[in-house]
Amino acid sequence: MNGPPSPRSRTAAARWELWLPLALFAGFVALVAAGLLRPASRDVKSAMIGKPLPEFTLRPAVAARPGLTRADLTGARPRLLNIFASWCVPCIAEAPQLEALRRAGVEIDGIAIRDTTADLEAFLARNGNPYARIGADEVSAIQFALGSSGVPESFVIDARGVVRYQHIGDITPKQVPLILAKLKEAEQ
């Protein structure tokens, strides 16, 4: 039934080949497992790092703070530019860290994405207002010009108005020293 017995060398080759599909399968499982356990980053990084800020002028988003123009972001020291919104849940989690940065002497400007004055004022009353200025970006135009793809995001801007660092997502308590270090780095 099984045909004539093969020569010895042929059997060895066949035995090796027998395991090949299982090895391929194991490799495939390892690949999928790696993808599941460590998913690739979904962050879209801005390509604006190292480039000067685009020109922009944004009207004040709330009555209590002035609006924001490109000229406001240049000056003596690096500044933190925070992209946020009142409808953004991680922005609430980030608020205490921004307040800590402000107390550490960091000047923070905000750009509010697709927001209303009433919502923003309620958000700031509840979560604190660490911003020196807040510009209103109703159609995300400046967000696109910055290469930012969501809220919250923070950019370190040096004194010459060059984008030096992008932080995607909320700044966690552990990341406050990192932001301070990036601001210090931008002084050079």
């Binding site: 009142s86 109703e138 159609v139 135009a141």
Partner: protein
């Protein structure tokens, strides 16, 4: 069981309001340009730009607010007379090639374009050898 159902019902009500803004969509997010030729150019471009939040969709396909704002951006720029490829270049300058669905040949992507040509050449060479040796035997 009932508690779980209540929790699920509460979630289904709470989630959409938590993740959405109250501002109406940007003027040209859902409104076509009056000039049909311009709208056609804008549409063709929008179909080849990636939504930054919903990353498997083009901005023409997506209802995410950020995709609406990107469509507004595209339509306003087309209406102002900008060329579609200039708008794509503007976005690529800010987000990298990732934002575009139209692949370009560069240092990273050339093997994708070269591989089929190399494989076809290899197949032609193998077939040629097989037929010529076949004729010889």
């Amino acid at each position: 069981m009932n508690r779980l159902l209540y929790a699920l019902a509460a979630l289904s009500i709470a989630l959409p309001t938590a993740a959405q803004d109250k501002l109406p969509p940007a003027p040209y997010a859902y409104r076509q340009l009056d000039d049909a030729a311009q709208e056609a150019r804008a549409k063709a471009l929008m179909e080849t730009l990636r939504c930054l939040q919903c990353q498997g969709q083009s901005i023409a396909d997506s209802d995410a607010p950020i995709a609406g704002d990107m469509r507004h951006q595209v339509r306003v720029r087309i209406a102002a007379g900008e060329q579609p490829e200039a708008i794509r270049a503007w976005l690529v300058e800010r987000y990298g090639n990732y934002v575009s669905y139209a692949p370009r040949i560069d240092r990273l992507t050339w093997p994708l374009f070269a591989a089929p040509l190399i494989l076809a050449a290899l197949a032609a060479a193998l077939l040629r050898r097989r037929f010529t040796t076949g004729a010889g035997v």
